[in-house]
């Protein structure tokens, strides 16, 4: 049994499985980035474009600390901590003073910070970008006959699943998680019930930014390269993801991330000569919004 491409049925099945796996890995990275964006939108109704700069910062911290200390684990944790703290600072310095203005002003500020950050990275770390001196996690694991994955790719999935389910558990089982969800639904009511809204905001910025930092470290590992412009694609693609998922819906953003990863994976192979990866993503976004203008899982 042959398809027009000349592949046997079994080969074709294996290829599809492989493409799904590649897509889910990419989707896991998107999910780590999109979480922070959707949390910020849910709480503040602000499109946090500068989030992508935190992703890039994560990549740089990952490479610099790994090359300096030799420990990738230390680098990953340091990156998450530093990026998380800088994320909180970005709320304090950029967004908090603008909360009384229309969200458009915060969006413009955010875009400005993002553009400036690219040149800042270039000035501090150089135009050529940085690479790992000895890239960690290079080993291979054979998942299925003919499909092997590097340890780095497996770590992406493990990390995304671990971190995201950790947040899910926090949201359901802890006081701060319940308070956070209450704040998203009705900030005034939550505040009057004794929820410290500011604490919720800082915590959300910390978690969302730290996850973006982790995604930056993982991407730096997969590409063995961090560049000043590394956040350019995530800056707008993550926005597409949270729109696709239904603005402010965490679950929707996660599903949209994985769906987009898989769509892009197949798309680059089968329509790649017509549309590049980003165009495929946006074509998919437009198609979904035509059918469901509120996104995949809109909040009521």
């Amino acid at each position: 049994m042959r398809n027009p491409g000349g592949l046997h049925f079994i080969e074709l099945t294996m290829l599809f499985v492989d493409l799904c796996i590649q897509g889910l890995i990419q989707g896991a990275i998107y999910a780590l980035i999109a979480l922070g964006l959707t949390l910020v939108y849910g709480l503040l109704r602000i499109l946090h474009v500068a989030h992508a700069a935190l992703f890039t910062l994560g990549g740089y911290v990952g490479v610099v600390v790994t090359n300096g200390s030799g420990s990738f684990l230390l680098a990953l944790l340091t990156a998450m901590l530093i990026v998380g703290v800088i994320g909180m600072a970005s709320y304090r310095v950029i967004y908090k003073p603008l909360l009384t203005r229309t969200p458009l002003i915060a969006l413009i500020a955010s875009i400005g910070v993002f553009i400036a950050s690219e040149e800042l990275f270039r000035i501090i770390f150089g135009a050529y970008g940085l690479s790992y001196a000895t890239p960690p996690l290079k080993g291979q694991v054979e998942l299925l006959p003919g499909i092997s994955l590097s340890h780095a790719r497996i770590l992406v999935v493990v990390l995304a699943v671990g971190l995201l389910s950790g947040v899910g558990w926090l949201a359901v089982h802890t006081r701060i998680g319940i308070a956070a969800r209450a704040t998203v639904v009705d900030p005034a009511m939550a505040a009057s019930s004794g929820v410290n809204v500011e604490t919720i905001r800082y915590a959300s910025f910390f978690i969302g930014s730290a996850f973006a930092g982790a995604a930056g470290v993982m991407v730096s590992l997969l590409n063995n390269l961090v560049e000043p412009t590394m956040g350019a694609v995530p800056s707008y693609k993550a926005l597409a993801i949270i729109v696709l998922g239904g603005l402010g819906s965490v679950r929707g953003a996660l599903i949209a991330s994985l769906a987009l990863g898989v769509i892009e994976s197949f798309g680059t192979i089968y329509v790649g000569h017509l549309l590049d990866r980003d165009s495929i993503a946006f074509a998919f976004l437009i198609m979904v919004l035509m059918i469901r203008p509120q996104g995949l899982l809109a909040r009521e």
Partner: protein, 383 residues
């Protein structure tokens, strides 16, 4: 008081005027647009080091016709909308005798049109779009056009390596498209069957899906176009997926940074380019040594191309003698010079005629593999 003020102003104007006069009398200005910020800043920085090295070398040897060369540098961010006004500024305010582009195709095309209209000679160091030299008689190019390098790639894979089933991975900009066109034009002449072809964007660094499909395609060799910042991740991911076919690239890979990114995966990767690291030619050896000393990292193709372009101008300035733009243009057209990227001459369109260097990564460095010097195969278009 009023009188005093007037006198002071007059004195100031005269002083400023004489400073400008003395500056123009002692130096010959060459305009240089180059991306020093934005996505192409890394290549821009290398190109600038290369151009400055050429100016230093010319001036250390006594300059041209008794004057020192001066490089007038502007950051064009590799953007046409930046490059066009900069070209006007270089010609009208700085009064450069000639310009060199150390930038990418978009910016270079925009500036080339203005230089051509103003009849001031302009050399594209490494931008490859075909329309650049078609802007007019005053525009030249010291690097290969994409088509020419694509043809050389077909010869390298089909004839010299004897690999016949080839997968193409093409970057979907003017660089990749023109390489692919040249490769396909010559593929059948070298017995190559193109089993599959994929395109990607300059923003892509993640090639997992394409590599999964290449694994199923089972080609004998991979012809992949790109720059060190796309090819580095790509080659590293190709080898990580267990594919061991030869990977052939082009001058876009030509940087030590490619080897740094791809690491051990870069071993054995071959490229068609302009710079031979193991050259015995004194001009090339001097350049490689001088560049490493000046820049603090090993030389690359964009640096060598910018270096060559400045030396071509210096040589033409000496030959033409006068400050006349038309005479300078004619002297550039008649160039026959041994420079860091080989023996340089131009055809009627202003396209360079030189050999293609094939370099291979061995033990973490670029090294000589072979030279392709087939004048018919490598003939650039002449109109």
């Amino acid at each position: 008081m009023r009188q005093y003020f007037k006198t002071a102003l007059l004195a100031g104007v005269l002083a400023a005027g004489s400073m400008v006069m003395s500056a123009t009398a002692d130096t010959v200005k060459i305009g240089f647009n180059v991306p020093l910020t934005g996505f192409a800043a890394a290549d821009g920085q290398s190109a600038l080091h290369g151009a400055e090295l050429a100016v230093d070398q010319v001036n250390a040897a006594g300059g041209v016709n008794g004057s020192m060369l001066e490089l007038v540098v502007y950051d064009d961010q590799a953007s046409p909308k930046e490059a066009a006004p900069l070209a006007v500024k270089m010609i009208t305010q700085d009064e450069v005798v000639a310009g060199v582009s150390g930038s990418y195709s978009g910016a270079t095309r925009a500036a080339a049109t203005i230089f051509a209209e103003s009849k001031v000679p302009y050399i594209s160091a490494y931008a490859i779009h075909p329309d650049i030299t078609r802007a007019g008689d005053y525009v030249f190019r010291t690097s290969f056009m994409g088509e020419v390098q694509g043809r050389a790639g077909a010869k390298l894979i089909g004839e010299m390596l004897g690999k016949k089933r080839v997968t193409m991975v093409t970057i979907n900009n003017d660089f990749g498209k023109s390489l692919a066109a040249g490769f396909k034009e010559q593929a059948s002449n070298f017995g190559i069957e193109i089993v599959s072809e994929y395109e990607y964007s300059i923003k892509d660094r993640e090639f997992g899906p394409v590599i999964s499909k290449i694994k199923a395609d089972k080609p004998d060799a991979i012809y992949a176009s790109g720059y060190f910042f796309t090819a580095g991740p790509m080659v590293s991911q190709i080898r990580a997926a267990g594919l061991d076919q030869p990977v052939v690239g082009q001058e876009g890979y030509d940087s030590q940074k490619f080897i740094e990114i791809a690491g051990a995966a870069s071993e054995g990767v071959m490229i068609t380019t302009s710079l031979d690291r193991d050259s015995n030619v004194p001009e090339t050896k001097d350049f490689i040594k001088g560049f490493a000393k000046k820049a603090g990292y090993p030389a690359d193709m964009v640096a060598a191309s910018a270096h060559t372009a400045i030396l071509v101008l210096a040589d033409a300035l000496k030959a033409s003698g006068s400050g006349d733009a038309a005479a300078l243009r004619d002297a550039v057209a008649k160039t026959d010079l041994s420079a860091s990227t080989g023996r340089i001459s131009f055809n009627a369109l202003g396209e360079v005629q030189k050999d293609v260097q094939v370099q291979i990564v061995k033990d973490g460095n670029w090294h000589h593999h072979s030279v392709i010097s087939d004048a018919v195969l490598l003939a650039p278009p002449s109109e």
